[in-house]
C-alpha cells in the first residue's frame, strides 16, 4: 500500500496526543543545514518494502519530549533518557508506517545519532517523503528513505 503524507501527519499527531498529551502541527518543509545540537533517530523496515524512517529535531525539543514522557519537572534529562524517549517515538512512527507498507516486514530497533555537525546518509536509498512539524516552537522533521537497490528488497 502506498504511503501518503496525510497518513504520516495524522499518525504523528495521534502518537504525540496519546503518548505525550502534546500538540504537534504540520509545518512547511525546510531543510536543516546546520546540524549543531540536532538529534536524529532512524528505524528501518525490511521485507517486501525496504526503507528507513528518520525523525530529526533540535536537542532542546527532544529534551522537552523526554521530560513530558518521563513526567519530569524542570530537571535536565540524561542523554540515555533522551535517546530512549526519542527512539521510542521513532519506533512508534516506524511501526505505523510498517503497518501501511504491509507484510511481510520487520521493524528494526531504533538508532539514535546526536551531536554537532554530523551528516546522516542512508545509502542506496532515495528520500521519498518529507513531512515537517512544529512542536513547542521547534521543528521536527520526518523523512522516509526507500531502498533503491533491488537486491535488498527481495526478503
Amino acid at each position: 500500500m502506498p504511503i501518503h503524507d496525510d497518513d504520516i501527519r495524522s499518525s504523528v499527531q495521534d502518537i504525540w496526543a496519546s503518548m505525550l498529551g502534546m500538540p504537534i502541527e504540520p509545518a512547511p518543509i525546510a531543510e536543516v543545514t546546520n546540524t549543531n545540537d540536532q538529534i536524529a533517530c532512524m528505524v528501518q523496515i525490511t521485507g517486501h518494502w525496504v526503507g528507513s524512517v528518520v525523525l530529526t529535531c533540535h536537542t532542546s525539543l527532544a529534551a522537552d519530549l523526554t521530560r513530558t514522557m518521563f513526567a519530569m519537572e524542570d530537571e535536565d534529562p540524561s542523554s540515555e533518557d533522551v535517546h530512549d524517549a526519542f527512539g521510542e517515538l521513532a519506533n512508534m512512527v516506524g511501526g505505523n508506517i510498517k503497518t501501511v507498507v504491509g507484510d511481510p516486514s520487520h521493524l528494526s530497533l531504533p538508532t539514535v545519532v546526536d551531536g554537532n555537525n554530523y551528516q546522516l546518509h542512508v545509502t542506496r536509498s532515495t528520500c521519498t517523503h518529507k513531512v515537517d512539524f512544529e512542536c513547542q516552537g521547534e521543528r521536527l522533521q520526518l523523512r522516509i528513505f526507500e531502498r533503491t537497490d533491488d537486491n535488498m528488497a527481495a526478503a
Partner: protein, 122 residues
C-alpha cells in the same frame, strides 16, 4: 494482582504504568523487565498474574518469550503492547497464545479493555 511490564524502553515502561493508573488500575503491584530473558526469570519465580510485553527487544523478543513460556507449561495471561500491529504479527501472537495485541500509541480505554479481557482469562 501482579503485573509484569516488559519493554527495553524505560520510557515506554513508564508510559504503560502511567496509563494503567489513568485506567484505574494503579493499585496493582507492577514489576518491570527490560527484555524477554529477564522477564522469563521473573515469571518462573511465580506470582505474576498478567504480562504486558513489547515485541521487539534485544536479548529475547516478546514472541520468543511467549513461546518459551508455553514450552515450559506457563499459563500466565500474556498480551503484547507493541508498534508491530500488522495482521501477520497479530496472527503470530494469537497462534503463540497471546490474549491480545495492543498497538502503540494506546489510550487508557484500550488498556482498560485488555485488562478486563485478561482478568476473565486468569
Amino acid at each position: 494482582m501482579k503485573i509484569l511490564i516488559v519493554d527495553d524502553s524505560r520510557a515506554m515502561r513508564m508510559i504503560v504504568k502511567r496509563t494503567l493508573r489513568q485506567a484505574g488500575y494503579g493499585g496493582h503491584d507492577v514489576v518491570e523487565a527490560s527484555n524477554g530473558a529477564e522477564a522469563f526469570d521473573i515469571i518462573q519465580g511465580g506470582g505474576v498474574n498478567l504480562v504486558l510485553c513489547d515485541w521487539n527487544m534485544p536479548e529475547m523478543s516478546g514472541i520468543e518469550l511467549l513461546k518459551k513460556l508455553k514450552a515450559h507449561g506457563s499459563r500466565v495471561p500474556f498480551g503484547f503492547i507493541t508498534s508491530e500491529g500488522s495482521a501477520e504479527k497479530r496472527a503470530m501472537a494469537a497462534e503463540a497464545g497471546a490474549l491480545f495485541l495492543l498497538t502503540k500509541p494506546f489510550s487508557a480505554d484500550h488498556i482498560a479493555t485488555v485488562f478486563e479481557q485478561a482478568k476473565l482469562a486468569s
